[in-house]
C-alpha cells in the first residue's frame, strides 16, 4: 500500500510540474471555444432579420449589386443607402471594387428566378465570418420578391415566436438564450477533454517507463498491478485538478461577468447534476485510462502507442462531433442512444443532464452499463499489465492488441 501511495504522489507531482500540462489546461479550452462555439453561435444568429439590419447599420462595409434579373425595385427600410449600391453593369461594379469603393459586389443573373443563382465577387472571402454581405443581399432580394414587407421577416425566420407546450411538467427551453447552447456544450467539452487528456497521460506515463527501462527497476518494488493502480489513481487526481480549474474557472468568469443569473430555468445545474457529472467523470476516466494504460503496457514506445489512441478515444469524441444533436434536441433519438451506450455515455449523458430533465430510468440504464463496462476494462487492463508485456519491445499491431484482449 505504501508503494502505491508513492506511485500516486509521483504521478501527481510529475504531471503537475509539467509546463505543457498548465499550458494545455489554460490555453486549449480557450482555443476550442473560439474555434467551435463562436462560429456556431454566429451562424445561428445569421438569418435573424433584426441582426441583419443591425449589422448593416453598424457595418462600415459597402457592397454593390448588379441586378441583371430586374427584380430590385427599392431598398428595404432601415438599410443606409450608401451601404448597398446598385450598378448598371458588372464592369462598373468591378471598377468600383478595384478602386476600393466596395468590399464586394453581387451579380443577380438574368435567369435568377429560375436558377436562384447569384455571383459574389470579392478581393477575398473569410471562411470564418458568420455574417457578411450575402445576408444583406438575401434580405434585399427577399424584400423585393414579396409584396408585403412583414412577410420578409417570416421568410428569413419562419417561426420567430414558437411556443412549445410540453405535456410533461418541465420548464420550457429558451432557444434564444445562448446558455441553452453553451452549458451542455461546455459540460461535454470539459468531460471529453479531461478524460481524454488524462487518459493520454496514462499512456505516456506507461510507455515512457517502458522506453527508459525504469519499469524494470520499479517491478522489483511493485507488482505490475500495483503500478497500474498507482498510476490510474494519481492521474485521476490530476484529472480532478484539471476539471476543477476548467469548471471552477468557467463559473468564476461567468460570475464576474454577472452571467450566472442569465442561465435559463431549464438548464439543470443542481447539486444532483454535479454529483452525477462526477460519477460519469470517475467511471469514464477509469474506463479510458484503463484502455490507454493497457495500450501503453503493450506499446514499445510513445510513438507507437499514440498511433492507436485515436481509435480508442473515438467513442468519447463522437458525441462531441454531434453536439448539435444534444443542444437542439437533447431528448431526441441520437442523444438518447449515445447516452445509453457505455463508451459514449460519459460525455453524452452529462450533456443531456445539463440540457434537459433526463428520466431516471435512462440514467440508471446508462450508469449500469457504464459501470459493468468500466469493470470489464479495468480487469482487461490488469491482464495487460504483466512483466513480460511491460519488459518487451515487441512492435504494436491491431492483431496483437486483439490477441491480448482475448487472453
Amino acid at each position: 500500500m505504501r508503494n502505491i501511495g508513492l506511485v500516486i504522489r509521483h504521478e501527481i507531482k510529475t504531471t503537475l510540474s509539467r509546463r505543457s500540462f498548465w499550458l494545455l489546461t489554460v490555453l486549449f479550452p480557450a482555443m476550442v471555444i473560439v474555434a467551435t462555439a463562436i462560429p456556431q453561435w454566429l451562424a445561428g444568429d445569421a438569418l435573424d432579420e433584426a441582426n441583419v439590419l443591425q449589422a448593416a447599420q453598424q457595418s462600415l462595409a459597402h457592397i454593390g449589386y448588379v441586378d441583371e434579373a430586374g427584380i430590385v425595385k427599392a431598398l428595404p427600410p432601415g438599410i443606409p443607402p450608401d451601404t448597398v449600391v446598385a450598378y448598371p453593369d458588372e464592369a462598373s461594379a468591378q471598377a468600383a471594387l478595384e478602386a476600393g469603393e466596395l468590399d464586394q459586389y453581387f451579380v443577380i443573373v438574368p435567369d435568377f428566378l429560375e436558377s436562384g443563382r447569384v455571383v459574389a465577387v470579392s478581393e477575398q472571402f473569410n471562411v470564418f465570418s458568420g455574417l457578411n454581405g450575402a445576408e444583406l443581399v438575401k434580405y434585399l432580394v427577399s424584400y423585393n420578391l414579396v409584396d408585403r414587407p412583414e412577410v420578409v421577416g417570416l421568410l428569413l425566420d419562419p417561426t420567430p415566436k414558437e411556443t412549445r407546450v410540453a405535456l410533461a411538467p418541465r420548464p420550457p427551453r429558451d432557444e434564444d438564450n445562448p446558455f441553452t447552447f453553451f452549458v451542455p456544450f461546455a459540460a461535454m467539452f470539459v468531460l471529453f477533454f479531461v478524460i481524454s487528456m488524462t487518459a493520454g497521460y496514462m499512456l505516456r506515463s506507461v510507455t515512457q517507463e517502458k522506453e527508459n527501462r525504469t519499469v524494470e527497476v520499479l517491478l522489483l518494488s511493485l507488482s505490475p498491478r500495483q503500478l497500474m493502480v498507482g498510476k490510474v489513481l494519481g492521474l485521476g487526481v490530476v484529472a480532478l485538478v484539471q476539471m476543477a480549474v476548467w469548471m471552477g474557472g468557467g463559473l468564476l468568469a461567468m460570475d464576474r461577468a454577472r452571467l450566472v443569473t442569465q442561465i435559463p430555468e431549464h438548464i439543470q445545474l443542481t447539486p444532483g447534476f454535479v454529483i452525477l457529472t462526477l460519477v460519469y467523470f470517475v467511471l469514464g476516466y477509469l474506463l479510458y485510462a484503463s484502455a490507454l494504460g493497457a495500450l501503453g503496457a503493450l506499446a514499445p514506445n510513445v510513438r507507437e502507442g499514440t498511433q492507436f489512441t485515436f481509435i480508442i478515444i473515438l467513442p468519447l469524441l463522437l458525441p462531441f462531433w454531434l453536439n448539435t444533436a444534444f443542444v437542439s434536441n437533447p431528448d431526441g433519438g441520437v442523444a438518447l442512444v449515445l447516452s445509453l451506450i457505455p463508451l459514449t455515455a460519459p460525455t453524452s449523458m452529462v450533456a443531456r443532464l445539463a440540457a434537459t430533465q433526463v428520466p431516471t430510468w435512462q440514467v440508471a440504464v446508462s450508469l449500469g452499463g457504464l459501470l459493468i463496462t468500466t469493470y470489464g476494462f479495468v480487469v482487461m487492463a490488469a491482464r495487460f499489465f504483466r512483466p513480460d508485456t511491460l519488459l518487451t519491445s515487441t512492435s504494436l499491431s491491431l492483431r496483437r492488441i486483439l490477441r491480448e484482449a482475448r487472453g
Binding site: K13, N212, V217
Partner: protein
C-alpha cells in the same frame, strides 16, 4: 561456506517457441563478486529477472536470503539493469529520491544519504538537472547511486562500467570492492572480461540458455590452461590446426585451442612449416576472454 544469498536450482523459462533458459543452477554467497557471463541473448537477463521475482520460472526454484522473495526481502536488493533505468525528462534529485523511497527509505534519510553519494560521485552540482541533460557517464553513476542508496545486501548490476572513463571505472570498482568487503553479495553481468578477472571470485557462463561453465575463476583458468599458447617468431602463423582464436598482443600471438587439440599437435605443425621461425612457444594460462570465446564457439560448432 555460509548459507548462499542466492540459490537457483534447475530454472527453466520459455517464451512462446523460444526456450530462453533451460535447467540453470548456481549459488552466490555473501562477500563475493559473482560474474554472470554469456553472449548477447544467452538468457542472462531472463535469469536475473527470475532471480528477482519479476518473471516466474516455468520450472525450478529460486531462493534468495534463504527463502522466497517477499516485499521486505525485495527491499534488501539493489538492481541496476543494463543502460537507462532512470526517468530521462525528470530532474536527478527527485528521481533518485523516488526510487529510494520505493525501497522503503524515509524521504529525509534518503535525501541525506543521496547528498553523500552525489558528493562522492561528483554529481552534487548536477542534482537539479534533468537526467537527459547529463553525460552518459554521469547517468551511469546516477544509476549506481539508485542501486546502492538503500544499502542493499544483494546487489545485481548489469554492465556497471558502461560509458565510464578510466577514472570513474576505477571509482566504481573501488565501490564494488568496498561493498564486497562489507559482506554484501554482488552479482555482476558484463562483457568486459578483464573486469571480471579483476573483480570476480566465481563465475557462471550461460550460453543458449544453459550453464556451460560454473566455478572459481582460477580453477576454470587452470582447467583451460592446456588449450592456450603464446607464440613469438617470424613468418605467417595463420592456418594452424585446431585454433579457435588467435590475437596478437605486444608482438606475441595468443592462441586459444579447440578442446580436442593439444599443444604438441600445433608444435608439430609449426615445425613442419618452412615459412616460420619460432622464437618462443609456451603453454599459457588463458584469459577469461579466451575461455569465453573458446566455450561459446565450441557450443556453436556443436549445435
Amino acid at each position: 561456506m555460509s548459507e548462499p544469498t542466492v540459490s537457483l536450482q534447475h530454472l527453466s523459462k520459455r517464451f512462446g517457441d523460444v526456450q530462453a533458459v533451460s535447467d540453470v543452477s548456481f549459488e552466490v554467497y555473501p562477500g563475493e563478486i559473482f560474474g554472470l557471463l554469456g553472449p548477447n541473448g544467452a538468457g542472462k537477463t531472463t535469469t536475473i529477472r527470475m532471480m528477482l521475482d519479476i518473471f516466474r520460472p516455468d520450472r525450478g526454484e529460486v531462493r534468495v536470503f534463504g527463502g522466497t522473495l517477499d516485499e521486505q526481502a525485495k527491499e534488501r536488493i539493489g538492481y541496476m539493469p543494463e543502460e537507462r533505468g532512470l526517468y530521462k525528462d525528470q530532474k536527478l534529485e527527485p528521481t533518485l529520491i523516488y526510487l529510494a523511497t520505493l525501497k522503503g527509505m524515509a524521504e529525509a534519510t534518503a535525501r541525506e544519504r543521496l547528498y553523500e553519494w552525489l558528493h562522492r560521485l561528483d554529481l552534487y552540482e548536477h542534482r537539479h538537472k534533468k537526467v537527459q541533460d547529463l553525460s552518459r557517464g554521469m547517468q551511469q553513476k546516477a544509476q549506481i547511486i539508485a542501486t546502492l542508496i538503500h544499502e542493499p545486501d544483494l546487489i545485481v548490476v548489469d554492465e556497471p562500467f558502461s560509458g565510464l572513463d578510466p577514472v570513474n571505472t576505477r571509482l566504481v570498482k573501488d565501490i564494488m570492492e568496498e561493498q564486497r568487503q562489507a559482506g554484501k553479495t554482488i552479482i555482476m553481468s558484463t562483457h568486459q572480461m578483464y573486469q571480471v578477472e579483476a573483480l570476480c571470485n566465481r563465475i557462471v557462463l550461460i550460453n543458449r540458455g544453459r550453464v556451460v561453465l560454473y566455478g572459481e575463476v582460477e580453477e576454470i583458468k587452470r582447467r583451460f590452461s592446456a588449450h592456450a599458447l603464446v607464440i613469438e617468431g617470424q613468418g605467417d602463423f595463420s592456418n594452424l590446426p585446431g585454433v579457435l582464436d588467435m590475437r596478437r598482443q605486444n608482438g606475441a600471438y595468443h592462441v586459444a585451442l579447440a578442446p580436442h587439440v593439444d599443444a604438441q599437435t600445433v608444435l608439430r605443425a609449426l615445425a613442419a612449416r618452412e615459412d616460420v621461425f619460432i622464437e618462443r612457444f609456451e603453454l599459457a594460462e588463458p584469459s577469461l576472454e579466451d575461455i569465453f570465446v573458446m566455450v561459446v564457439q565450441r557450443e556453436g560448432d556443436d549445435a
